[in-house]
Symmetry: D2
Subunit: 357 residues, 4 copies
C-alpha cells in the first residue's frame, strides 16, 4: 500500500492527471479465469461520471474505459489488467489567476511545497479525476468478491448537516435520486437545499455510508493489516475525506459497555448477533455481520465566494474559483467509497485464501 499503488494481493496502480492526455490503472493480482470485459466496468464508471445532474460538475467526459491487457478470450489470464480512459474535456482554457495562486483547501500549496512543481491544470494529479480509476479497479474487485457471495452498496446519509431517517432506508430509492439517498423525503429536502447552495456559488459537505453484506467471518489480518485499518486508509485516502467510522464510530465513545455489546446467540445452526455496533469487525477481523463504514467529505473548496490566499511569489491575493465544480463532492464519492470497500475486501479474501483461514 505505497504511493500510487493500493493493496497487497489485489493491487492496483493508478496514473494520470486531471488535464493530461489520459488516466489509467494497472490491476495486478486478478485471479485467472474470471470473465471480464469493458461491459463489466463501464456501468460503475457511469455512476461516478461527471455531468449527470446539475449537482455535479459540468465537465463532459464519457469516461470510456479500454482494457489493454490481461484478458484473453473474454477471461482474465492472471497477468496485469491495464485500463485506460482518455481525457476528452481538458478545456484549453486560460487558467488565469489559478495558475500562480494557491486555492485554499486544495492541494495546490502542498504539492508545490513537496515537489517544487506547480501543475495548475485542474489540480493535476491531486484532482478527484483519479477516483475514476478507483471505480474501475473496484469493478474488477467486485467480480472477485461477488463470486464469494459478497455485495457492496453505498448511500449518502447526511448532507449539509441534514441526516436521513434510517427508518425510511430503501436501497432502491438510492437509484432514483441524484444523491444516492436511501430516504426519499430527505432526498427532496436535499434537492432544494443543494439547489440554493449551488446558486449561491457555495458548497457543502456530506457523509457516506458503505455496507458490505455476505462478508464471511475471518477476513482481516491483525495487527497491522486489520480490516478496519485498511478500510480507514482506503476511505480516508479519497479526495476531501476528513473522517472515517466503523460501525457506531464516534458515537460508540459515548456509550457504556453494556450498551455497546453485540450479544450473541444461536439460531438453529447459525450464530446470530443481536446488534452490530461493531460494524462487522472485531479485533480487525470480520465477524460475519455486515461490514459498515462511514466517511465524511468536506465541502468543495472551489467556491465562487472570494477567499484570501497567497501566490507563488509570496504576495497576498484574493481568489474566486470559476469553472466547473460540484457543489457537494460527497455525491460522487458514493461510488468511489463502494469501490474502495470492494478493493479492500478482495485483497483480504485473497489473503485469507493464502493462509487457508
Amino acid at each position: 500500500m505505497t504511493f500510487n499503488t493500493f493493496g497487497r494481493l489485489f493491487r492496483y496502480t493508478t496514473w494520470g492527471e486531471s488535464h493530461g492526455e489520459a488516466i489509467g490503472c494497472v490491476v495486478d493480482g486478478v485471479p485467472p479465469r474470471i470473465p471480464l470485459s469493458e461491459a463489466d466496468i463501464q456501468p460503475w464508471l457511469d455512476r461516478r461520471r461527471p455531468g449527470q445532474s446539475k449537482f455535479t460538475t459540468q465537465r463532459q467526459e464519457s469516461d470510456t474505459v479500454r482494457i489493454l491487457s490481461g484478458v484473453f478470450g473474454g477471461m482474465t489470464t492472471g497477468t496485469p489488467v491495464s485500463l485506460l480512459i482518455e481525457n476528452e474535456d481538458q478545456r484549453s482554457k486560460d487558467y488565469g489567476e489559478i495558475k500562480d495562486s494557491f486555492r485554499p483547501g486544495h492541494a495546490d500549496y502542498t504539492y508545490w511545497k513537496k515537489y517544487g512543481i506547480r501543475d495548475y491544470r485542474g489540480g493535476g494529479r491531486s484532482s478527484a479525476r483519479e477516483t475514476a480509476m478507483r471505480v474501475a479497479a473496484g469493478a474488477i474487485a467486485r467480480k472477485i468478491i461477488e463470486s464469494a457471495g459478497m455485495r457492496v452498496r453505498g448511500a449518502l446519509v447526511e448532507m449539509g448537516g441534514v441526516v436521513i431517517d434510517r427508518a425510511r432506508w430503501d436501497w432502491e430509492e438510492t437509484e432514483r435520486n441524484p444523491f444516492w439517498c436511501p430516504d426519499a423525503e430527505i432526498a427532496a429536502a436535499w434537492e432544494e437545499m443543494l439547489g440554493a447552495i449551488r446558486k449561491e456559488g457555495s458548497s457543502t459537505g456530506a457523509v457516506i455510508e458503505v455496507i458490505a453484506e455476505g462478508v464471511p467471518a475471518g477476513l482481516g489480518a491483525p495487527v497491522y493489516g486489520k480490516l478496519s485499518a485498511d478500510l480507514a486508509a482506503a476511505l480516508m485516502g479519497i479526495n476531501a475525506v476528513k473522517g472515517v467510522e466503523i460501525g457506531d464510530g464516534f458515537a460508540a465513545a459515548r456509550l457504556r459497555g453494556e450498551q455497546n455489546a453485540d450479544e450473541m446467540e444461536m439460531r438453529g445452526e447459525a450464530v446470530h448477533f443481536r446488534a452490530n455496533h461493531a460494524g462487522g469487525i472485531l479485533g480487525g477481523i470480520s465477524s460475519g455481520q455486515p461490514v459498515v463504514a462511514r466517511f465524511a467529505v468536506k465541502p468543495t473548496s472551489s467556491i465562487l465566494t472570494p477567499v484570501d490566499t497567497i501566490d507563488r511569489a509570496g504576495n497576498d491575493t484574493t481568489l474566486r474559483t470559476k469553472g466547473r465544480h460540484d457543489p457537494c463532492v460527497g455525491i460522487r464519492a458514493v461510488p468511489v467509497g463502494e469501490a474502495m470497500m470492494a478493493c479492500v475486501l478482495a485483497d483480504h479474501l485473497l489473503l485469507a485464501r493464502a493462509y487457508g483461514d
Copy 2:
C-alpha cells in the same frame, strides 16, 4: 504495512501474546548514529503501563524494556533494533468460562473463526498488551522526528460523552491528572463519573486528540500513501478504535465551503493560515500547520454485567467478565495514539528525504 509490520522506511514488526513469555518488536529502518538507550524508551512505556491509577487495569507489569540489537557504543548502527519486554504477571489463573465462551465485543470469536485456534489466555495476540511495543517503537520514532523539529502530544478530549472546554486547554494539566486531560475542571468531573462507572462494573468510551507540531510542509505520499490515510490506518488499528478524524473531521461535513476555507496570507516571509479546519493536511500532504487527528475508543467490552453469548460448542450461554480491566481503555490509548502519530511522521520524513522532496 502488512500483517504484523507497520511502516515503509521506518518499519517495525511486533510479536507476542498477552500471557505469553514475552512481547517484543523489531524496528528496522532506524537511521544510523542516533544516540539510543533503554532510557529513551522506558519513560514512554511507563506512561502506558498498567496499574498506575485505579482507573486502569491492576495487572502488575514493570514493562522493563531491553534493547537486544542495533545499538553499539550508545548509538544506533543502522541495523535492526530488537526490543523485548518479559511478561511478569501472566497470572496462572483459572480461565474458567472464558476458555470456551466468546466475550462479545472482543476478538475471541473472530480469531477463532479465522484461525481455528482459541488462545483464551487474556486475549492472546488480540490483547491491547501489544500496544506496549507500539509505544516502544514510537519512542524511537520520536528521536527521528524530534531531531527534525517535530513534537507529538496527545490528550483525552471526551469521555462518556463529556467533552472538554477547549478554552481551558492546558498541556501541562495533562500531566497532572490520570486521564491526560488538558482541562482541569473536566478532569475532576471525569474522576467522579468514571469512579461510579468502575464501581458499577461498567465501562465507557472516549475520544483522544493527537497533535503534531513543527511538521514541515511536504510530508505525505499521494495518492495511496497520503499522510491522512496512513494516520487513519495507524489510529484505526489501535485496539477498540472505531473512528478517526483529521482536522474538523465529521464536523466538516456540516460546513459550507466558505466556513471550511483555511485562508492564507503572508506574515513577513512566512505563510500564515488563518484557520486549520484541514488539520494540517491538504491532498494528503502536510501543509506546515499542526497535524491534528482524533480517534474514538469504544467502551471496554469486558464488564461485570452478564451478557448473552455462545460457546465453542455452539450453545447459548451467559458471560460475566471478572478480572483486571480498564473501565475506560481510552485513557491508556493516549500514549499509544501519540506513538502511532510519531511512527507515521518518521516514516514520511524518511520517504521525503529519499526523493529530495
Copy 3:
C-alpha cells in the same frame, strides 16, 4: 519487488502481452524536477528494438514510446510516469500447432499449469517483448543515477562458448558490431558462427557483462536488500537467464583466500583497491569500485529442428517452431541487463538518501 512491480522506492509496474494491443509501464517514485521527454527514452529502446540485424527477430516494431503522465513543462512532477508502446506487428497469423502444443523450453506449459489459460499469441505475457518496458524504465533510472555520477554499460562477453579476450576490451567497439561485443576479433568470429547457426535453424546461448562505474560506496541494504541479491533477482528475472555472477562469481569458488583478497591501500587521499574480485560489493554494500555483474542466457528455445512435446489434450506430438526468432536472444539481452542494473542502482540511491547513509 512483487509480481509485476520492480523496486522499492524507484518502482515500476509493467503490463501487456506480446500480441496484445499495447505494452506499457508505470514508473512510480521518480523524483520531481528531472528533465524528461520521450527523447530520453527512445534511444535506449532503439538499441533493444527487433529487426535491426539479421541476428535478431524480423518482427517489425518501431517501439515508439509515449509518456502519458507524470511530466509537466518538460519536468517530472513526482507523480507516476506512464509509458505506452503500441504493438504494430501482431501478425494476424495462423498460430497452427503452437496453439495447442507446448513449446519445450518456453513458458507455455507452466503458464497453462499455473493459470489454466493458454494465451498462445507469441508467448503472451511471458514473451521477451515485456523487456522493452524494462529498457524504458531503465532510461528513467539512468537520469537519476547519472546525475549522481554513475554510468552503466554492458557487453556480450561469450557466445556459444566462444569467449572474448579481455585484453582487447574496447567499449567503443560495442557500438560497431551487432553483438555489443567489446572485442573486434571475436565479433568477427561470432558473426560467422552465428550466421551458420541461424541458417541451420538452431540457436545458441551467451553471457552478458554489465558494469556500473561511479557507484558511491554505501549502496545496498543488508541483509535482505543486498545490492548483490537485488542484482541477482533483477538479472535472473530477465527472460531466458539461467545464471548470475557478481565479480569473480563461480570462479571465486576455485580460489584460495589470498588469491581472492582485494587488498587496499591509500593513494593520496583516496582509497585504492588492488583488485576487484568482489565485483564492487562487500557484505551486500557497494565499495566504491565498479559494480560488475554477469548473466548467462540460454539458447533460444524456438528452433527449426523438430522437438518432441505434448499437447493440451495430453497427446504426444512433435513441434517445429517457424516464425521470427532470435538465433541468440543474448544479444538483445544486453540493453535489458543494463536497464536492470540502472533500476537497481536508482532504487538503492533513493534508499540511501532516505537514511542519510
Copy 4:
C-alpha cells in the same frame, strides 16, 4: 523483500549481531494449526552450528532456540512466531588491530562507509552468524512445504576446484562426511585438501547445490516475482555468495537450442520431461520437475596470511586475521542454502493458494 525482512506471504525478519546479546527472528505469515515446537527447529540449527568438525570455526555456541510467541498448545496460531538464540561465546577478547583496520573481503569497510559506525565485534550484523536465523525460519518453512509434498536437500558439489562425480551421487553419503558431500571418494579427497589448507592458514571456496523435489507445477509469480529470481536473491544474499545458477546455469550459455531442449512426452497420465536443463523452472514458474539451484561461495576472507589494507584513520597497514574461522565457509552454507530454498517455496506456495493457481 526489504532490508531485514525476507518474503511476501511467508515473511521473516532477522535481528542481532555476531557478538551481541542474542540473535533472533520473527516469522510472520505462518498458517495456523501447524504442529510446532523447538524440536522441529533445533535439528536443522544443529547442522549449521559451529564447532562440529575441525573444518568449521571453533566458536562454541549451542545455538539453543526458544519459541517466544505464536504457538499455543503445540500448534501455530497464525500470529508471529518469535525465535531467539542467546549468544554464548562472545569471547571478551582484545579485538586489537581489527578494531580499527578494515579486513579485505569483509564488509568492514562498506558498513563503515554506509553507516559511519564501526561495529568491530566479530563482524557485527554482517557476520554469517545471522544465517542461524535463516535456518530457523527455514525449519518452519519446511513444515509448510513438506505438508504439500515437497522436500529440500542440499550438497556440496565442488570445493577448491575439485568437483564431485555425479555418477556416484548418494544422498545418504551427505550425512556421513563433514562436508555434506554426496560422493564418498571426493569427500576423502577434500578432507586431505582442506586439512592442508587449514594448516596453511588459508581458505578455499565451494559450490553448493540445492534440490527441491515434489514441487508442484505452477509456483512462481511472473514477471518480477519469478521463482528463479526469488531463488537468485535468496541465495545471492547468503554471506560470501558470488554466483547463482538455475538448472544448467552458465553451462546453458554454451549449448545449442536442440541440446538444451527438455523434450516432453506422456507416460500414461503423467507428463514426463526427458531432461531438466531448465532446473524445473520455465518462464519463472515451476514445471513440476525438481527445482535445481547452485551457488558459489568465495574463500573465507579471514586468513592467517598477512594482507595489505588501510585503517580508519586513512593509513596503510597490514592485517593478519587470527581467531576462529572456517577454512571453507561453503560447508556451513549448505544448510543455509536449503533453508532459503524452503523459504522461497513456502512463500510461493502461499501465493499460489491466494490466487487459486
